[in-house]
Symmetry: C3
Amino acid sequence: MLHAIELCAVAVCAISGVLEAGRKEIDLLGVIVIALVAALGGGTLRDLLLGAPVFWIANQTYLYAAVIAGIAAFFAARIVHLPLDLFVVPDAAGLALFAVLGTQKALTLGAPWLAASLMGVITGVFGGVLRDVLCNERPLIFTGELYATAAWAGSLLLVLLAYLGVDPSWTSLAAITFIFAVRVTALRWKIGLPRFSSKVK
Amino acid sequence: MLHAIELCAVAVCAISGVLEAGRKEIDLLGVIVIALVAALGGGTLRDLLLGAPVFWIANQTYLYAAVIAGIAAFFAARIVHLPLDLFVVPDAAGLALFAVLGTQKALTLGAPWLAASLMGVITGVFGGVLRDVLCNERPLIFTGELYATAAWAGSLLLVLLAYLGVDPSWTSLAAITFIFAVRVTALRWKIGLPRFSSKVK
Amino acid sequence: MLHAIELCAVAVCAISGVLEAGRKEIDLLGVIVIALVAALGGGTLRDLLLGAPVFWIANQTYLYAAVIAGIAAFFAARIVHLPLDLFVVPDAAGLALFAVLGTQKALTLGAPWLAASLMGVITGVFGGVLRDVLCNERPLIFTGELYATAAWAGSLLLVLLAYLGVDPSWTSLAAITFIFAVRVTALRWKIGLPRFSSKVK
């Protein structure tokens, strides 16, 4: 069940990569590369930092999901109009799930609390950052509604509940719901952190 | 013999970095950095993902080759006009060789077939991607003639032949020739994958 | 004592990230991310390349230092004018210290001399490169006064003195002083390496 949701999240992130790449003139393989990077980038960096085997080399089902979703989205986008908004809700679900899975993996491997919560953030958002850098755009996480913030708050909530000894299933469910709800609420009412109205010249 | 070709490929990729950097105003050390990144970036990412010791730390002959080739190209480019076209053929050879070496290393270390073929693509093209990102240009692999595609097709060919039990030497030779031929043919007749003529707004 | 200086260097690099981010419109969490990346990026890449446990996961005091310094600088920059020049001297100290620590760690883990000196350069400058790429600017190390050059020369000096059997404390002190002095001198008299006045079209 969890594995199935995880594969969906990988596929959704791959599609987000295709949609972003679609605003540039990029060929089919470039699109697949960006789909893979968007879908697998966060978990890959997490595994490298934790010194764990990279998850999509150990089990390449994730690769299948990302490649198939990316190719399907590529051809779908040539036929019908795919509004970016369509993917906002599953993308929020992917963010929530990846962040929670990342934090749990880090805790399991013995990372301390603040580092573990950052692993959650990295797993949730790094794929999108790489996608934006490859497409030569300013990373979305730095400009819009609560995104990395939601992932971080939820990861810290997970760490706190785990520390208090709450049952892992409830902890995960609470943190996933929290991140998803914060992200969707922030999108709906355009809530963001205070911007840097800088005095730096 | 193989080691000698590999060192040549490292040197050629280092020179490609210097030529790219030469279109910007970058100083000598920046040029060496970009040469190193272009020459060693692909193999480094492969080794990190596979959990293997990084090849140029284990054997720094590769460092010597990249640094010497980079410095030589830097000074040569101040004296004579170096056309970018000059390096297209050895660059195609480097792509072919790196992709095949990367796929073989991944298979040897037990990676599954699709992941192993992607290791070949990464080894072949990632140095160039990093070079372009550092020079703040859109990565070439996303825009031009068959490049990563050639590397991926050849890596998949290698995986297939290895699966069929063909002798490793013949397998390598076939895959290297295939990638080189596809790349040169694509350059000569400007063959590319279909572009993304997007319906995404 | 060394640990205290190292924490100061982390904090100073975090502040440099905040100041750079402040020239863009970035929110509070984006600022913290850039502060973390600027402060920890170099040492993280060093540890990944060397196959060592990542230092800020093993000991998250570094995380505390970077987060606290980043948040403090964010709010300080909203209240008072923070000139970028203010941080040039501690930044030079951070560069010197990180480069020496990186080289020493690489030598301790058995890296050969040229690779070890590059680990020093990477530890000293990679955080700043990542910071610039995330902010979508051309990396500073490629354009200005001696920076990576100073770090590399000092790292090579350290390798040489260690090879000659000089006492480690004196070796470190000499290399730190050397890098700091070269950097500050280069800034004061605007000394840089020869630029690439390219014949490449």
